[in-house]
């Protein structure tokens, strides 16, 4: 709903930065983060909205950041692709594909050294395993049995290029096995399954048994970057899209909750969320832009 609001209002020109929406991929973010403690850490990519919110990131500061306002989670310096909330363990989002992977690995190394018991998650896309640095990090993480879970959301595309044009046809989990890493594979649109697999991976990591590569199948509904639907442009078929629509993670959850969630209660929740979103939007709209002089701050610590 948050991202639908972004999509709806992007055209107004208040959100002046590239946005990569997670609509369709919500269950992966939520299932993974639900299996974590607040003090656990996550690192994300250009497509970071769902991760930020699932880890408890502040909605007002998110909208403000996307609108380039001083009240943004990083004061408007980064925009949509750089969301973070240190207090919630949303450590960083990095828009260079795979660039966050060694950072997350180093985070796990630090926690191992400090014996903090914390677990780190590197959220990555299917394309990031094409980058060499993924393999460099995986090798290191296994070698040092680091407390980390590499959560790969395979949405079948990198921008508009399908997986089969970028990688040979073999299970993506092979890349983990090649590095001697534990691997698991599940339906990323199934919240419960994701949660279960992730809980196993977290337990494994927390006990000092090392990393897991958790491959989650999912699908991006909107365009790669921007607010619109884009099936008409031809890089994927309408049929493929519709097939994934039937696997909508939210509808699936809804169905499962079934009788558990009284219609009234649901309505109330939706209303509450809508209010929250509208108020965050209003907050961001009303918030002042940062002062130009702030641009030269924080170059050096």
């Amino acid at each position: 709903m948050v991202e639908e609001a972004i999509a709806e209002h992007y055209g107004e020109g208040e959100m002046r930065c590239p946005v990569h929406l997670s609509i369709g991929q919500e269950a992966a973010a939520v299932g993974v983060c639900d299996a974590l403690a607040l003090t656990d850490k996550i690192y994300s990519t250009h497509r970071c909205h769902a991760h930020y919110l699932a880890k408890g990131g502040d909605l007002n500061r998110m909208f403000a950041e996307i609108c380039g306002k001083a009240a943004g989670c990083i004061g408007g310096r980064g925009g949509s692709m750089h969301l973070m909330d240190l207090e919630k363990g949303m450590m960083a989002s990095i828009p260079i594909v795979a660039s966050s992977i060694p950072i997350a690995t180093g985070s796990a190394l630090a926690d191992k050294r400090m014996r903090s018991g914390k677990v780190t998650v590197a959220f990555i896309g299917d394309a990031s395993i094409e980058e060499g640095v993924f393999h460099e990090s995986a090798n290191f993480a296994v070698l040092h049995r680091l407390p980390i879970v590499f959560v790969c959301e395979n949405n079948l595309y990198s921008v508009y290029t399908p997986l089969r044009q970028r990688q040979p046809d073999r299970p993506l989990t092979n890349v983990a096995l090649a590095h001697g890493m534990r691997a698991a594979h599940g339906d990323g649109n199934n919240l419960e399954e994701t949660y279960r697999l992730m809980s196993d991976a977290v337990a494994h990591a927390r006990c000092g048994n090392g990393p897991t590569f958790l491959l989650l199948d999912t699908y991006r509904w909107r365009e790669h970057c921007g607010p619109n639907f884009d099936n008409r442009i031809g890089y994927r078929t309408e049929a493929e899209y519709l097939q994934w629509e039937t696997r909508c993670p939210i509808r699936a959850l809804h169905k499962k909750l079934g009788s558990g969630l009284a219609p009234q209660r649901e309505k109330a929740m939706v209303e509450a969320i809508t209010v929250e979103i509208e108020s965050a939007r209003a907050f961001a709209r009303a918030a002042p832009l940062p002062e130009p002089a702030q641009a030269s701050q924080f170059v050096y610590a």
Binding site: C17, K69, G78, G79, E130, Y160, R166, P290, A295
Partner: protein
């Protein structure tokens, strides 16, 4: 001649000019091919690769996995073996992953092999700014590449040059870093039809003048021209030099201009510090010590990363207003005249967003 004359009427964007350059090169030499991320992406690198797959076939434009270091190395390997690859990076930042391949294998294979190997390779990189790209998607890293002997570094400001220099770059037997400023893709200009080459021979005077020399790169050239135009109206004659080729660096045009004008302003798209302007200034004072009548001024980015918010980029990018002001200061132009010039610039920019290409730069120039 008639074709040439007719073509002078033809106004297209720099992005389309690049696309035409690719098409001409692809048609003439089937050893030419391209590596791209997003061959089927409808955005098609600002339209620059639109329709190329359809026209020339899939094996002339190869989808590149997201693996930049590998891609450049593979392209170098293909180039060493008789192919003529072109690679495109949507953001210069992605090329940072490939710097080892660029610096060691692309730049040095000819040298290390004692002339036996050649690396006919073009690496397109998009630099620049706009629409909240933020600190990791809008850097201008031309000085990094310019540091390395063996590379050629080309940076067009105009559509016609972009096409003609791209064709030259593809036909060149050396690795050429071809830098495209993001905003310039939307700029328009007269572009001849068909095949032609513009030599990679160095800086060029794009506005003649005698009072001050402005040396600028890419988008900054357009800002300088705009400043030159309003300054002309108040009786100040500005010579604008488009750097065009940062390496190998041919200083002759710049030296001649400074000898005439005695005044030098450099305008970088990248950082001032350790930037292109530093080399230009040092080369001028080193070789023509007494030419300058006043301290040279270097403009460019201040010493911090380029933030996303439109609130934060106010004053970050050197624009025609700043250039105009610096010329005024350097030449001691009176306040009243300066007010005229600056007011006219402000009027032009009024109500325009700071983070999108300025329609003034549509050209043609």
């Amino acid at each position: 001649m008639t074709a040439q004359a007719v073509s002078q009427e033809r106004i297209i964007t720099l992005a389309d000019a690049i696309r035409e350059g690719l098409i001409e090169s692809f048609a003439r030499d089937d050893r030419t091919f391209m590596f791209a991320q997003g061959v089927d992406d409808p955005a098609s690198m600002w339209g620059t690769i639109k329709g190329i797959a359809k026209r020339f076939g899939e094996d002339r434009i190869i989808e590149m996995p997201v693996a930049e270091n590998g891609a450049v190395g593979i392209a170098v390997g293909a180039a060493l073996n008789g192919q003529r690859p072109v690679i495109g990076f949507h953001r210069v930042e992605f090329a940072l992953l490939a710097l080892e391949q660029i610096v060691n294998n692309a730049a040095k294979s000819h040298y290390i092999s004692n002339g036996q190997h050649k690396v006919p390779l073009v690496i397109r990189m998009v630099i620049g700014r706009g629409w909240g790209q933020g600190p990791e998607h809008s850097q201008s890293l031309e000085p990094i590449f310019s540091y390395f002997p063996g590379l050629k570094v080309v940076m067009p400001a105009f559509a016609a040059d972009a096409k003609g220099m791209l064709i030259s770059a593809i036909e060149d037997d050396n690795p050429v870093i071809f830098i495209e400023h993001r905003f310039l893709h939307y700029a328009t200009g007269h572009v001849p039809e068909g095949y032609y080459k513009n030599p990679l021979d160095g800086p060029r005077v794009v506005r003649e003048g005698k009072d001050v020399t402005i040396v600028a790169t890419a988008h900054a050239v357009l800002e300088a021209i705009r400043a030159a135009d309003v300054l002309r109206d108040i009786g100040c004659s500005v010579e604008v030099i488009d750097m065009r080729v940062l390496r190998p660096l041919n200083m002759a045009t710049i030296q001649a201009s400074v000898k005439k004008s005695g005044h030098l302003i450099t305008v970088d798209t990248g950082f001032v510090m350790y930037g292109i302007g530093a080399e230009v200034v040092a080369a001028v004072v080193g070789q023509n010590f007494s030419a300058l009548k006043a301290a040279p001024v270097r403009l460019g980015l201040p010493d911090h990363p380029t933030p996303s918010s439109r609130g934060l980029v106010v004053g970050v990018y050197p624009d025609s207003l700043r250039i105009t002001r610096e010329v005024g200061k350097m030449l001691g132009i009176g306040d009243d005249k300066m007010q005229l010039a600056l007011a006219s610039l402000e009027e032009q920019r009024k109500n325009l967003p700071i983070d999108a290409p300025d329609p003034f730069f549509k050209g043609p120039f």
